[in-house]
Subunit: 224 residues, 2 copies
Amino acid sequence: MCLCATLPDQEQRRLADSVRLAWPMQAGEHVFRSGDPFDAIYALRSGWLKTYIRRVDGEERVLGFHLPGDLLGLEAIDAGHYGLDAVALTDARVCRIPIATLGRVSGTDGTLQQGMLRLLSRELAGRNRWLASDNLSADNRVAGFLVELIERRERRGLDAAAFRLPMSRTEIGAYLNLAHETISRTLTRFQKNALIDVSRRKIRVLDADALRQLRMPLRATRGN
Amino acid sequence: MCLCATLPDQEQRRLADSVRLAWPMQAGEHVFRSGDPFDAIYALRSGWLKTYIRRVDGEERVLGFHLPGDLLGLEAIDAGHYGLDAVALTDARVCRIPIATLGRVSGTDGTLQQGMLRLLSRELAGRNRWLASDNLSADNRVAGFLVELIERRERRGLDAAAFRLPMSRTEIGAYLNLAHETISRTLTRFQKNALIDVSRRKIRVLDADALRQLRMPLRATRGN
DNA sequence: CGAAATATTGAAGTTATTCAACTGGAGTGG
DNA sequence: CCACTCCAGTTGAATAACTTCAATATTTCG
């Protein structure tokens, strides 16, 4: 039922018995909130989810935009409570996998835990890469963000040339750590340079390769 | 032998058999490098270690400064190769725990894997908190860095009022994502304000509470 | 339709970076 | 022991990039 790509088939089948069917959610509804007791991990089945954390100044920092197949809540295992908020950006369906179920299923052998270990490990490696790529320019980041969306859509067989952004400029900014005005200006400039065609949340990718180039900081460019 | 604080005693004893004794390292020597095949995790026994990742522009981004008790290499589980470099800042000793050993020990029950899951989970939560705290000012970050050092030393029973920084200004900058000149200026200013007394790498903390205050962004403070 | 939310655009302001010069220890060797 | 060198650190001035504030435009939705 719930597709956890990282788990071997047999485990998936075992899980299927214990997991409730996909849980429907409306846009704006929270899957869990920071501080809630950790009682389950969630697998996104359809729709978009956003995870974020509230900063000391009250502003939110977006940690990820999630597509079906993503697993949420793993960072809560140690703390015993969720460390971030997960909210639906669109109508969505999630699978709830209670920790009790996890314990029962994984008791027999370690395969499931292995899978979770790998998943956490991958997530951590990703965070490290993220940390390594701040200090990039606004152009670099916005281009990187777009390429990320494009590639994830390609991988899932969705239309990667034209699609609808499920999040606001402010949310993109909170993800890339830029002001929303900067996002807007950057997108406008990309449009002027014929890289994309964007209007509000509808976007058409005109030159994906150029975007891919823009992801990386330019070498030895003084005047730019 | 090797203290992995997160593991229950019985597991520790089991591990002790298989783990080689503390491995001596000289300052500047690498424990592992990014890209090396993942064959073991390491526990730091004594000395300081630094983990970092090389950015596209060749500069290094420091991801962590490590004290005894820290476990390294977990982020490599999924990728199969290390995703960062770990290097000794001082002479140090590490325990090497080959994955073969891990597999053998954990085969019997899941306790060890549980521990690793928790550890990874905690690490990930920490990374998330880190991501939530960039966009802080240079003052905030440097103060946060110092408080972090102070608290870690306190927790280990080391002198937290006066100690020696094991890393250069450049390395602090690579950790906080600031230019080394900015680190220098900020420390000088902290000294002027009687928060610390710093000379080269010798530091004396004069007002830890003020530093703790400074960690968070100040609201509505113009002149500082 | 009107109101609220979202997005765009301009101008001014801020903060950290960059470039550059200089200082001061630590280590080396005559 | 002193001169010499090298590297880490400090400091200053100019610059660049993004933010902030402010005004306007466009959607969306009740």
